[in-house]
């Protein structure tokens, strides 16, 4: 019996503007960065990061792209490097950034303008 030889079609990826989908490919790419962020549930680890960021990132084996994104505090670059927002939020917290600060950074707005945009949604 022969088994029909199926040629895998390239998977059609759904694209949603301004939105990255955290699929297997992204999760594999981002594993080291997300693992580091997950460690920040523990205050001891947050202190260790603050004390020596370079060494802490090295301990988790961040890729050069991930390390550069963290050094630049650039959330879109972290997502591009496979970071997931639920874990990245813990890193942002170390930098004193809440989700509205992070939203403002990603949309290129001031925090005040980003908050106004949200308030305006109630009127739309």
């Amino acid at each position: 019996m022969t088994i029909g030889h199926q040629i895998a079609e390239p998977r059609q990826r759904r694209t949603i503007p301004g939105t990255s989908l955290f699929d297997g490919e992204a999760a594999a790419r981002g594993y080291a960065l997300n693992a580091m962020c997950y460690s920040f549930n523990d205050e001891k680890n947050r202190e260790a990061f603050r004390a020596d960021e370079e060494a802490y990132c090295a301990r988790f084996g961040l890729t050069p792209e991930q390390r550069a994104a963290v050094a630049a505090r650039n959330v879109l670059a972290m997502i591009e490097a496979g970071g997931n927002i639920y874990y990245l939020a813990k890193l942002a917290g170390i930098f004193g950034l809440n989700v509205q600060d992070v939203g403002a950074q990603q949309t290129g707005m001031s925090v005040e303008a980003f908050k106004q945009k949200l308030l305006a949604e109630a009127e739309n």
Binding site: C37, E43, I79, Y87, K90, G103, Q106
Partner: protein, 286 residues
């Protein structure tokens, strides 16, 4: 016979926990959201549930990407809250309805839901904030809990249709439970919001209204969208509506709206609260 009294559906934005800790319920930014809980407090006082089965999603407190269950059911006698990394006060542990958890697990697996069972499970703001909203005050927690976590983090995500079916299987389990408990169902998260990407801050009032209008009378309407459709319609984290869909299934066939509240924004989120009462509860009153 156990009785399912009704369902509380609410957003679980972490900042709400911060507002509770700082006593900001009457502050002008927060009041429109907290006011939505007045009718729920009155209803809970009359309905007197002793168990809450709560559908939520973990945000990287208990589950990491090394092992990510699609559906996870708690089976513990006690659930610890813990530091999530950004300064929310840690709440006291919650007592678990352990025997009921195992009964639900038995029924789910017999019904071919291949769930993960957790005898140890830390619970994050998605569980603690809704319970603190429902029963304000540190020592005012009259319920035992059964937490059911749904993966909203790592794609592929479970379909809304499957989440409704899971909830319905939980309803069957609760209907067959011989205990005398009065059971409330909670579904937490949403409504539309997106934290990440260039579309951060996205909100969709029309889709949110569609969810609030249909969840009680016609939950199938919410399952006509795929998980990815919902992300497009409601934002990356708006997908948390699947927790509401599962919770709606656990209420049983009939659910009547008692109250709702919808307020934009709380943090980046279109915040909503919905209270549904079961046909079962209504017939007991009548």
């Amino acid at each position: 016979m156990a009785q399912i009294v009704g369902g509380v559906f609410t957003s679980h934005v972490p900042a709400i926990g911060g507002a509770i800790a700082r006593g900001l319920q009457e502050d002008s930014y927060w009041k429109p959201f907290f006011d939505g809980f007045h009718p729920i407090h009155r209803w809970l006082a009359a309905a007197r549930p002793d168990v809450v089965v709560l559908f939520y999603n973990d945000h990287g407190l208990n589950f990491f990407l090394d092992k990510m269950p699609t559906f996870a059911v708690g089976a513990a006698s006690r659930y610890q809250n813990a530091d999530e990394g950004w300064g929310l006060p840690v709440m006291k542990p919650f007592p678990g309805a352990e025997a009921l958890s195992w009964h639900i697990i038995e029924h789910l697996v017999a019904s071919e839901f291949d769930i993960t069972m957790c005898q140890q499970m830390t619970v994050d703001h998605a569980l603690t904030v809704p319970l603190a909203l429902a029963w304000p005050g540190e020592n005012n927690r009259p319920v035992k809990i059964v937490p059911i976590a749904i993966n909203t983090v790592q794609h592929p995500l479970p379909s809304p249709k499957r989440c409704l079916a899971l909830g319905r299987a939980v309803y069957e389990a609760l209907s067959a439970w011989p205990g005398e408990e009065r059971i409330a169902i909670f579904g937490t998260g949403g409504l539309s919001h997106q934290l990440d990407g260039e579309r951060a801050g996205f909100i969709n009032k029309d889709y949110d209204r569609f969810c609030l209008d249909n969840l009680g009378p016609n939950p199938e309407a919410l399952t006509e969208h795929s998980a990815l459709d919902i992300i497009e319609l409601a934002g990356s984290q708006g997908i948390e509506i699947i927790n509401w869909i599962a919770a709606r299934g656990a209420l049983g066939p009939v659910a009547h709206e008692i109250s709702r509240n919808y307020h934009i924004p709380i943090s980046n989120t279109a915040a909503a609260t919905l209270l549904l009462e079961t046909g079962e509860a209504l017939s007991k009153v009548a």
